[in-house]
Symmetry: D3
Subunit: 186 residues, 6 copies
């Protein structure tokens, strides 16, 4: 039964609003045991001249990019070894940790580390979860890895999960866990 009204400045697109109403619906459901269809969200939009803070009109900043799409584009670029595109999505303070590595800050480090681990790898995605927490957008992707070991033997079905933090539309952190070592040890 809960009803949410959000008051925003004009200027957000249909996809932005869709993400916003979904996120607000999820926020209610986080606490209130109501089925989704019992939760109504209404967006009030204001032209700048109808919205003042401190007596000053305000203009809306562009919506933040969809972090799930951003992460997917980054992962696709990495899988295609399009490093330039991938790099353009990273924040200056970017850092990543993979199984068995310390923090790495450049994609070159990552490729160097990976080359002894597998000849190629591709991801099959089972789920993507995106939300905002503690000042950053967070995206989790999980699924299974398939590819070839350095000796050319194929592998598949290896579980993985990646966690990304995104600030101001750039990826600041990537943390990766998977079962590669577990599978290799068997």
């Amino acid at each position: 039964m809960p009803i949410v009204e959000a008051h925003i400045l004009e200027g957000y697109g249909p996809d932005d609003k869709k993400r916003l109403t979904s996120a607000l619906t999820d926020a209610i459901r986080f606490v209130v045991p109501a089925p989704d269809e019992a939760i109504t969200v209404m967006l009030h939009e204001y032209p700048p001249e109808n919205y003042a803070r401190g007596g000053e009109q305000r203009t809306p900043a562009p919506a933040l990019p969809d972090p799930a799409k951003l992460v997917r584009a980054y992962l696709d670029a990495m899988e295609a070894r399009d490093l330039e595109t991938a790099r353009s999505m990273l924040a200056p303070e970017f850092s990543m940790t993979f199984p068995g590595t310390g923090p790495m800050t450049t994609l070159a480090e990552l490729l160097d580390w990976a080359k002894d681990r597998y000849r190629s790898v591709a991801k099959t995605y089972e789920a993507v979860e995106a939300f905002h927490s503690e000042g950053a957008a967070v995206v989790y992707t999980r699924g299974t890895l398939s590819g070839e070991w350095p000796d050319g033997t194929p592998f598949s079905g290896i579980r993985f999960i990646d966690r990304f933090a995104i600030r101001d539309g750039r990826i600041t952190q990537q943390d990766v866990w998977n079962d590669i070592a577990e599978v290799r040890a068997q």
Copy 2:
């Protein structure tokens, strides 16, 4: 600058409201590039006689439990090997997957699987993230593992991440990834 008004029935406690206002604030920040302090959330509460759907008054259901607390209590019970308490938090359809295992449905299976892996293990938590997505509460906990290998050698600092799904106040799913195999292989 965005402002959120949520209309709810009376009956939620201060902690419930705190979680609700935080979740609504995060929902806005997921899309709108405003700093936290520019987002205001106001809760309107209604006694049942002031809130009707379909012409019928409604009474509020109790708030859903804080899933982060539930998960922490479950993990503490597991670490203390208090299986009875842990089991009481699981849904009938509970399923869990650990590195190298298929889905397991009982804690006994888990203990059996774990006994060859380490003599003891304890978690140091670095972060807990909780949100609602696709009809379930989701909790991620991550940090490092420490303990003793089966031969008594100590270990520590091994990265882990656990994902929990919770429905109706019970854990339905636990997925675990960690670097144990990676470390053992080194």
Copy 3:
């Protein structure tokens, strides 16, 4: 899906609010093809100090009486020939019209007219409808009449409908239609 917020002063009782939320729900359904359960009504109540018109605080007038209950009490009093009680519910400008009569203004006239028509009569109610229209509350009651003709023969199942107008809690008008003549003519 429509949502109604009504802002009223504090001071209305649970029954008043129930009538109000029902009436508002019906008002929406009069135009919007939504099922009842998709219509939410929320009442905001204000203590006098929180509600000002023209800069002046306002105090609420008592709710209008439920006109359906008022009419039923009047009809019960008439059936019991408790004329004093019945009369207390009539406005000074009260007027009534029955089949074949011109406007009558006193209960005495009515009784005089009725005495040749039936020895006794009682109403079985099938439906009561109450609403506000054009400055007055309107109540329709319909059902069937049973009783005894002047010669003592019993009758029953004769359709009737009464229309009442109520202003300021008093009945100002009663209009009656029924099939008595139709049945007598057969």
Copy 4:
């Protein structure tokens, strides 16, 4: 002093909104002893992308037709003996009751019943009342009948009242009361 805000999807026309604001005003007046001019109604309209239930955008259904106009069109068609038009306004479950008849379901039955009663009849309307109640739109029309008896003698000024129920834009029920028998018996 009461203020009503109704939140609806975009797509309703000026006449729909007029009926809606009138109905909401009457709903308030049914309970609150405020003069009409002290009641303010404000409609908030939302484009589909600004209104979500269960996280899904909603599109508005067309407004229900004005039941008073529908009934008047039906009665005009009947008076003009335009049965095809009249029939198109009836729901499959249509049923009607006239003085001295049981329920009839076809206009043919009605005409057959009426032909011994009067050669012709026309209605002069004094009032029409329309509202929503118990899942249906209800319309009352009342006034006087004039026409010719089967022998050609004219009559006029005979009181009548018709009650109509309308669902999904079709008439489901017509109940008629009048003083014809009363007048004939005199």
Copy 5:
């Protein structure tokens, strides 16, 4: 932190809305010890068909003119001795009081009074304050006077304050205080 929502009919221009949001912000600050930037004002505008009082749609009256601009235009016209323009801004009941005068009702009286006081005078404005109080717009202007005494000696820096009352867009009252006599006496 306070938030103000004002519901108005469509038809006000950007400058009107700017004055309105400023005035509402000041109204809050008059009582609530919040900094300006913590006060948000949102204007909801309604097309006439979405706004009914007493069941009747309403059309907006044009916004009142900015009284500060009106007063400034009047004072500029007076300084330029454009009496026709100045007179067009005065209400029929206009009255003015200057130091040492009783109430005067025509500009001619004023000029006659002034001619022995100074040969010319011009105003330097330090501040203008405008607000609504007790049914009228009130404007205060203050600053210093400069010009020439009747004998041609120049003067400057003489403090003045003017108070204007404006109703329905016309000046109804002007009250003037200044230090001319104080300076002359020195």
Copy 6:
């Protein structure tokens, strides 16, 4: 017809709310040509747990004192020569200007300046106007002065106007204009 909703934290008293609703009503009237009685103001109050900015609950600061009462108390203390009380109402940066003086910062300076001007003086107030502007509360008082000249001759009916600025509950500025010199010169 305009309607204002102000959302504030709980904790303001009836007088604070009265001043707030009056100020909001005046703010509307400053721009919208509606009569006072057509303007409705509604205050929504929130307990701290229902109001969050930046995800944090907020507690209300005490309302600002009524500046009109503060100024009147200050003037009464001055008239009674209760300098200690008067001084307690002044901000550290207090400054005042009287006819013919430069800025003075202490009450002692004022008394010294005044002693050659009149033996005693008392104010008759005709009007007090208070509002908020540019970060300060502003109070204007005007009326007439009566008293005795240094030689004991009485005087009365001399026009004055005082302007006060108040920040954080203390008077920061007092500016005085009057016709004393004008009258003395006659």
